[in-house]
Amino acid sequence: MIAELGLAALWLAAALAALQLVAGALAVWRGGEESGGELAGLIRPAAIVQGVLCVFSFAMLVWLFVRTDLSVKLVAMNSHSDKPLIFKIAGSWGNHEGSMLLWITVMSAAGALIAFVERRLPERTMQATLAAQSFVALGFYAFLLLSSNPFERLPTPAVEGNGLNPLLQDIGLAFHPPTLYLGYVGLSVAFSFAVGALITRQVTPEFARAMRPWVLGAWIFLTVGITAGSYWAYYELGWGGWWFWDPVENASLMPWLAATALLHSASVLAARDALRAWTIMLGVVAFSMSMIGTFLVRSGILTSVHAFAVDPERGSFILGLLVIYIGGALAVFGLRAGSVAEGEKFSAVSREGALVVNNVLLSAILGVVLLGTLYPLLTEAMGVRVSVGPPYFDPVGTVFVVPMLLAMMVGPLLRWRGDRLERVRKPALIALVCLAGGLAVAIALRAGVLSTIGLALSAGLAVASVMPLRGRSLRRLPIATWGMVIAHLGIAVALFGMASERAFNKEELAAIKVGETATVGPWSVKLAAVDPVAGANWTAIEAVMQASYAGGKPVELHPQARSFWSPPQETTESALATRWNGQLYAVLGKAADSERWQVRLWWKPFVTLIWYGGLMIALGGLLALIGRVREDLRRRIVQRKAGERRAEAVP
């Protein structure tokens, strides 16, 4: 019954999406709210009810997983009655069908939210936006209902479920996919806004101000999702790395790059009424990158832990959707972009000039990542098998990241409209001195080329990013400006973590007996015991290690080699000892012989700053969002009061 309710809700939501599309298209075609008539009145309610139905449907799926209803195929394939509750819940999106249901739920919830709260845009643009949103949603409803029904029943209920991939049985699964999806799919709002504004040709600063909080919201979730995913991969996979340039990681990085560019170009549009067509283009590109990512991940065309199953039918379905939506949006762009009135021009030395540099370079980085990700597919078509990894991404990315960060050091100091470089000479010089200092220190410490560049830039950027606070009253600084400062500082912090990990990482691989000690960097790690332990659905060999930093008080670590039995798979559970200045990372291997155990240890100075930096970036975004929303609310109150006063003045 629960499964049928969920499925019915999903069909109903799809029908409402169709209604929303038809009503929206008719209303836009007839032009404006008056002539749109009764149909136009249906659009917002349809979007809201559709969102509610999807959330209900998703809740039903979670409920099925919680109850471990083995008559449902998806549950039987991916869950197990012995699994801890949190993984039963998280397991509902740890598979293809469930994750696509989460996707469509987030998408329709975002649509419902804009229908509910967004009142700033001209009504006709809003109708076009909601029509676009439902048009995109319809494709994914079709995909879900026709080829990946999550509520399918088994002819006879299974006796026991297959269980969840043990790599996914981690608390990370509870947070990483939902946050990432909120970001990924939240960008559909930017896409719909862009298409809506294109259709009605209303690309104005007001439009940018209306779109910006939605992009910011999606971007914050995307940032948190990527950061969480990186940390998860770091401790779960046991390889001691935090970014692998896996196609799936790139699939989340690409929308982030596009959304970051979009945020900055929307600022230019909002403040200076320039970069109109470019902002629209980025809105289209950002969500296109989300869809390309979904295609890469879900089609199984590339190998990855994230590819749940290889199914060519699904791949071609998503590819079809991709062609329709991206191609359609680009066609509308091509037809309409020329007729969008041209924006203001501006001088090169100005805030907007620096933001253009930022946009161009972010786009170049996006192109580099996209090319590297798709290259194996291109060569495979010609019969050559390759894989592209860090040797490509690291240096080529650096070529474009360096000038971008240099522009980022100066840009926030410049004024809108036009400025003189002499005015910012002093703060820029201070930042450059710090950069040179970082460079000298890094060279003295013999960091590698890329690490040296990273360390120097992070020093310069850290100082430059707080420079906009100079000479201003901190109390009266707008929250959004604080947001910018913190986000930029977060980039510097994360960059320092990355460069430090790369430069000063120490690794030790040894086979030692119980009672013996291995050393890595300043740590000495004693293997105190190796014992068998058991959990709810696994058994493990667990090592007890006493790790002492520079002869200090030892901390105990418990790395494990786990064996799950459903499905049968072995995983390594690393153990971490965190200090302010870095992390010790310990992995237990196999028995080398009758007495010795393999252990692998890493000392990673300041590695945690990578994720703290990521969180700072997200926090900066959050502050900017709060600032923007507050500004908007204030303006509304002022407008309302002015209206009341006018009403009083005319009795």
Binding site: L302, T303, A348, T379, D593
Partner: protein, 152 residues
Amino acid sequence: MSAVKAKHQRLILVVIALVALVAAGVIASWALRNQASYFYVPSQFVEDPPAPGQAIRLGGMVEANSIKTQSDGVTIDFVVGDGDARVPVRYSGIVPDLFVEGSGVVAEGKMQSDGTFVADNLLAKHDENYVPRELQDMNDQHKKAAVAETTI
């Protein structure tokens, strides 16, 4: 700057953006040609050995009785074969759980100047759902059941 018309400025911007993107494309494709790691099976490897220092992926079967653990307990030597050719491989580290003799492996690493192939990562079959694309149609190409079983 004020002498530049809005239309011209737009044109200049477009040109700058294009130049940056073309530069990105050129640098990227140059780097891809040099830095992409190519996939080899042992017979290709023996026929046309990769240059020392070039990152490659070698896929095949771990030959029976070929795994030898060195006295340090963490370095192993083994042979990857596909029935025609055999390539000795050295690896230091914790091997994946399903890395056993007679099953498939993909070794990522580099040829050293002294002619040994040193792997810095081993990918063994850990779940039948995850078959790398590069090994899917190997059966047709090489008709080697051995290699066909190779999965990550």
